[in-house]
């Protein structure tokens, strides 16, 4: 039987990335809240191999801008779209890589993809999701699995 990391695992991994690079305050990222609505930025990495699926990070544009500002150590108002794409892609990559280590292997990790809006993966379904709040903005991390 395939072990699937729990929602708590997703939260722990996301929290580790956040406290390492985005917000030194462990209390800065709060569990709960509602999924983002309206405009969204989605960062995604795909896994293929013993486990085939995706790890997605969805957040509001203000959260994405603040995350990029924190990673690049610049003021939020100075963040460019290129920096948002780079930052959200790298965060999705770090979360995805660490989730991958808990899944059956070997699997290949794709380069990150970042889109404005919601990404859906044909033939895949969400198997785990965790809802978080950072600086009053919603953030969702989800693990998808491709139907076999």
């Amino acid at each position: 039987m395939t072990y699937i990391p729990s929602a708590d695992d997703l939260e722990v991994i996301t929290r580790e990335v956040w406290t390492s690079f985005l917000d030194g305050d462990p209390a800065g990222l709060v569990a709960g809240g509602d999924p983002p609505t309206g405009e969204q930025i989605t960062g995604c990495v795909h896994l293929s191999g013993a486990y085939t699926g995706s790890i997605m990070l969805q957040c509001s544009p203000p959260a994405a801008r603040d995350a990029a500002a924190a990673l690049f150590s610049i003021a939020p108002g100075d963040v460019t779209q290129v920096e948002v794409v780079d930052a959200i892609g790298e965060i999705a990559n770090m979360v995805g890589g660490n989730v991958k280590s808990m899944l059956p292997g070997p699997s290949l990790l794709s380069l990150p993809m970042v889109v404005q809006g919601v990404l859906s993966v044909p033939g895949a379904q969400v198997v785990r999701t965790v809802q978080l709040i950072w600086r009053a903005e919603p953030l969702t991390v989800s693990l998808w699995q491709q139907a076999s």
Binding site: F21, L71, F72, E83, A87, K100, S101, S110, L111
Partner: protein
């Protein structure tokens, strides 16, 4: 030399390395890093991401290890690839150390000290 396709990660690693006293050059993928080496750059250490476009980190390590003139370069993977089999592959190819993202500045400094490229 910091080799990573994420400019944010190059910035973070570059800042850490500069704070430790290193001069830093950057490359966004393995191919550009090889081009820099071919044009005469001879870094003491290269911090290498795994998943990059054009040429990934493992291919870069293999390419460096094939060249006698680059033997002295210490190679440290800094990557999200954390499967044991991947770590073994990188070390077998010639990487000296392996750091999994996310990391702390202290973790990087500790690994550099272990490699003997940083004197505490």
């Amino acid at each position: 030399m910091v080799i990573d396709d994420s400019s944010a990660m190059r910035l973070i690693l570059g800042r850490i390395m500069r704070s430790l006293g290193f001069d830093v050059v950057e490359a966004p993928n393995g191919a550009e890093a090889i081009a820099r080496l071919q044009s005469g750059a001879m870094p003491e250490i290269a911090l290498v991401d795994w998943n990059m476009p054009v040429m990934d980190g493992l291919a870069f390590v293999n390419a460096v290890r094939r060249e006698e003139k680059w033997r002295q370069i210490t190679l440290m993977m800094v990557t999200t690839e954390s499967e044991q089999s991947q770590i073994v592959r990188a070390l077998a190819a010639g990487a000296h150390e392996y750091v999994i993202k996310p990391f702390t500045p202290d973790a990087i400094a500790d690994k550099l000290a272990l490699l003997g490229v940083l004197a505490y």
